[in-house]
């Protein structure tokens, strides 16, 4: 599965970056490809491109602040608080697998 994700936390100092790492590791274990954009204190990093968005199977927003979803219009989108990724990154990706496979 091709996953795109955005992480963002209230202070933008730590959780944003921990969540990115956790998602990347979980995706690797599950055999998914993932790219994670961080919106934190140093601004937007690892920004998702329009082409990547076009090709993605799903977009996962894991944030405690508002993230602009405009550019993801028409894509399957999952929007959850960052705590869920902090708690159980593999559980989150597993759920997404289940959901998407059911739709097919």
């Amino acid at each position: 599965m091709k996953i795109l994700a955005v992480t963002a936390c209230t202070a933008g100092i730590a959780h944003t970056y921990i969540a990115k790492e956790k998602l990347e590791n979980a995706a690797r274990e599950l055999g998914d490809t993932i790219k994670v954009e961080t919106q934190g204190s140093i601004g937007v990093e690892n920004e998702l491109t329009l082409e990547e968005i076009r090709e993605a199977d799903v977009v996962l927003i894991s944030a405690d602040i508002r993230v602009n979803k405009e550019r993801f219009k028409g894509k399957p989108l999952v929007d959850i608080p960052i705590s869920m990724v902090m708690k159980s990154p593999k559980g989150v990706l597993g759920k997404i697998h289940e959901k998407l496979e059911k739709q097919e």
């Binding site: 209230t10 202070a11 100092i13 944003t16 970056y17 921990i18 790492e21």
Partner: protein
């Protein structure tokens, strides 16, 4: 990344006496203050508590990362502390904590982008099982650096 650039020996105490959350935060904030990172200690501590109220900072694996983005911070810094006994702390895995990273970030966010990046990188590594495992047994400053390699 140069972890030693952001992990200041003067702000690290791996033999902390603290028994509760307030003692942990006060002790580590005091270390940052003595090392010259903080302009107004009480103001900073207040802002750390503001963040504590917003959500959980115990990231699991007996590690907690309280932090404050505050006008009371002079420059970006991290204090690290470890207690012998577990300290009650709200966490994602429901476990108490004994290793603490207290982050201090000036509210403007200016004048320290390189250091903010180091903090982000260090935080990212806390999302790796390997780093977390190594941290459990880190006894010295050198162990700490090694855990983040």
């Amino acid at each position: 990344m140069a972890v030693e650039e952001i992990l200041d020996r003067r702000a690290i105490d791996l033999n902390m006496e603290a028994r509760d959350k307030d003692q942990v935060i006060r002790h580590l904030a005091g270390l940052l203050d003595s090392a010259g990172y903080i302009k107004d200690l009480e103001g900073y501590i207040e802002d750390v508590y503001v963040r504590e109220k917003e959500g959980i900072t115990g990231i699991g694996g007996h590690v907690a990362i309280p932090h404050g983005k505050s006008d009371a911070v002079g420059k970006v810094g991290i204090a690290v502390g470890r207690t012998r006994e577990m300290v009650p702390w709200e966490s994602y895995d429901g476990e108490p904590s004994r290793l603490f990273f207290l982050f201090a970030v000036p509210s403007g966010g200016e004048g320290g982008k390189d250091h903010l990046r180091l903090i982000a990188e260090l935080a990212g590594k806390l999302g790796r099982d390997k780093t977390m495992d190594r941290l459990q047994t880190a006894e010295t400053y050198e162990d700490l650096l090694e855990a983040f390699l």
